[in-house]
């Protein structure tokens, strides 16, 4: 089992305490305002090189603005690190990469891999008809035609969240099982371009307004949402809501999962001011 760890900003680049990690995931899935600069990408690549780590660039869903930011990174990688693995979370980015870039190691990220992530499901599992539960434990990648299409599009790897209700899906054998990854211990629930935690200095900003620019003020705040139907609180960080699941599924092999992607932190930017007044890292 390959062990990777996921870092979204260069000031968090450090090896996890436990050994055995051989790959660095670097980048962002949920917010195009947090796409790294070319300089930050180079820093992350250098860290990976210095620690003998394989490197994966993670990319978010994007508008035209995000495409321009990604273009800078993709152009740099084409020239300097063309064997880099790239995680795509946008069908358009996948299409674009296939048409215009030579990258051969493409992974379909967890956002386009739609699954039932509502944390209430865990609370209702015992009350569901068996057929409903099985459906909630499955996803559309069980449909062979979908995997065939992805293979045609050059996708080599599929990525999954660790579902609270368990995972029962048939990801082989025709077409043959692809390589699969599992994020843990944090899964995502929902995300938005109408970010409530962004641009906090703009008092007049409507919360229902798309942020065309962002000063990343979300990095200082983390909000926890509790409801009796959920075992653990939902974590809101930046424009995205997350759940926590520390229990790995027992059927990793059956699911074809050969890579675990450890998230030492919620995969969104945090303020680097840890240690200053009030600066203890928010719990999760």
């Amino acid at each position: 089992m390959e062990k990777a760890f996921f870092v979204v900003q260069t000031d968090q680049l450090k090896m996890p305490e436990d050994p055995g990690y051989s790959r660095l995931y670097y980048g962002i899935e949920f917010c195009q305002h947090q796409i790294p600069t070319k300089e930050e990408l180079r820093t992350a690549l250098a860290f990976a090189r210095d620690h003998s780590l394989e490197f994966t660039l993670v990319t978010p869903y994007v508008s035209e603005t995000g495409l321009k930011r990604l273009e800078i990174l993709f152009d740099y990688l084409r020239e300097n690190e063309p064997s880099t693995e790239i995680v795509v979370n946008d069908w358009g980015v996948l299409h674009w990469l296939r048409r215009e870039y030579p990258f051969k190691n493409i992974a379909l990220g967890r956002i386009p891999n739609k699954m039932k992530r509502d944390p209430r499901i865990h609370h209702y599992m015992d009350k569901m008809p068996p057929e409903a539960l099985l459906n909630f434990q499955d996803c559309s990648l069980s449909v062979p035609a979908v995997r065939k299409l992805l293979i045609e599009l050059g996708v080599k790897r599929l990525e999954f969240d660790n579902l609270l209700q368990g995972m029962k899906m048939d990801l082989g054998s025709d077409p043959p099982m692809m390589t699969n990854s599992l994020y843990h211990p944090i899964g995502y629930i929902t995300t938005t371009r109408l970010c409530k935690a962004g641009n906090l200095d703009e008092k007049e900003l409507s919360v229902f307004q798309v942020l065309e620019t962002c000063e990343r003020s979300c990095r200082n705040y983390r909000t926890f949402f509790r409801n009796q139907a959920m075992k653990d609180p939902i974590i809101a960080q930046g424009n995205t809501f997350f759940y926590k699941n520390t229990q790995l599924p027992p059927n990793l092999e059956e699911l074809g999962i050969d890579r675990l992607i450890f998230e030492p932190e919620v995969p969104m930017m945090l303020s680097p001011s840890e240690g200053k007044a009030g600066g203890a890292p928010p719990p999760w």
Partner: protein, 338 residues
């Protein structure tokens, strides 16, 4: 805009029951869309993103009858098969719905799932497919992907875009474009959200928005929350919590001003959400308001400033509300005095 011919503007309205056919068409709907909730899928295999009885026709027979009545009035009817994804277990129900669609000779399917798009491309190539807003076509490459690889004929763009982004995508799009015009919009993005719009009506628990808690949209639940802060700047905490305390889904947003730019660019299809609204009169009210705005623009010869001024007056008179950027579907800075 000085041409004398009326501009082509089509209002696409939701419909949730047979009895709405004539009132909606009388009110000016150019196209209708609806879902079907098959009884046998209610145990967790629903093939519809709005799994509530009030949002859907209740049988394939009702759907066929609806198509007959709608076509008799010269209007198109589209069917939603728009769950965010389908597992293999759901395909028998999907195929039954598709067969009913073909038998009824309805006009287009509104689809959200790549697997279903593949099924339609490969097994039912004659069916016209519209890409649901939940496939998150935020950029032109996504539109091209679904048009070229999966043969969709129309793309319904996401609600979380700016007017400029929409127009830029439209200008490059090889297929028809549909945008939202009026009505509700959630704080979370339709396509990227995995909060359930109802876990299933087999769960027994307390009352929620559409019945029980398990049938309530996840972001509608009552939450206790607290905000942890990092760093020295504490001033934002109150703003964050105030923003989180606001409803996640507001029932009312308006894009009448933006309609000018959309129509000038060439966008012809304007969608109204709300098939889950239990109040038929509310659905009709929104439709009539949209049709009113459409008629203001059909022959309008002034510039955007003039249209905005006129349509704001119309908005305030129609809804008895002050126009504000907080009600703006595609919020644009500087377009409001507030």
């Amino acid at each position: 805009m000085t041409e004398q011919q009326p501009r082509e503007i089509n209002i696409v309205s939701p419909m949730a029951s047979l009895k709405e056919v004539d009132p909606l068409i009388d009110a000016g709907a150019n196209e209708l869309y609806c879902g079907i909730q098959l009884k046998e899928t209610e145990q967790g295999l629903v093939v519809n993103r709005r799994p509530y009885a009030i949002a859907n026709l209740q049988s394939l027979e009702d759907f066929k009858e609806a198509v007959k009545r709608v076509h008799a009035r010269g209007v198109k009817l589209h069917l939603t098969l728009n769950s965010l994804y389908y597992t293999p277990r759901q395909y028998p129900y999907l195929e039954r719905s598709i067969e009913a669609f073909l038998e009824a000779r309805a006009d287009a399917l509104i689809v959200s799932d790549v697997g279903l798009l593949l099924l339609l491309r490969d097994k039912y190539p004659g069916i016209r497919v519209h890409l649901s807003t939940t496939l998150s076509a935020f950029n032109i490459h996504t539109v091209r992907f679904f048009a070229e690889e999966l043969k969709v004929k129309r793309v319904i763009l996401p609600r979380h875009m700016s007017e400029t982004e929409i127009i830029n995508v439209f200008k490059e799009s090889p297929v028809e474009t549909e945008v939202f015009l009026l009505g509700q919009r959630c704080i979370n993005d339709d396509g990227q959200c995995t909060f359930e719009h109802g876990i299933g009506n087999f769960c027994e628990d307390g009352p929620g928005q559409h019945g029980k808690v398990s049938e309530t949209v996840g972001c509608y639940l009552n939450y206790n929350y607290f905000t942890a802060m990092r760093g020295e700047n504490s001033s934002g905490r109150k703003i964050v919590e105030k923003r989180y305390s606001l409803p996640t889904m507001a029932p009312f947003f308006c894009a009448f001003c933006a309609m000018y730019g959309f129509v000038k660019a060439g966008i012809k299809y304007f969608k109204l959400p709300g098939r889950e609204d239990p109040d038929v009169q509310s659905r009709l009210r929104f439709l009539k308001a949209a049709v009113g705005a459409k008629h203001m623009l059909l022959y309008f010869e002034g510039n955007r400033f003039h249209f905005t001024r006129e349509v704001k007056k119309y908005f305030m008179k129609t809804f008895e509300l002050q126009c504000s950027s907080s009600l703006c579907y595609y919020a644009m800075k500087g377009n409001h005095e507030d």
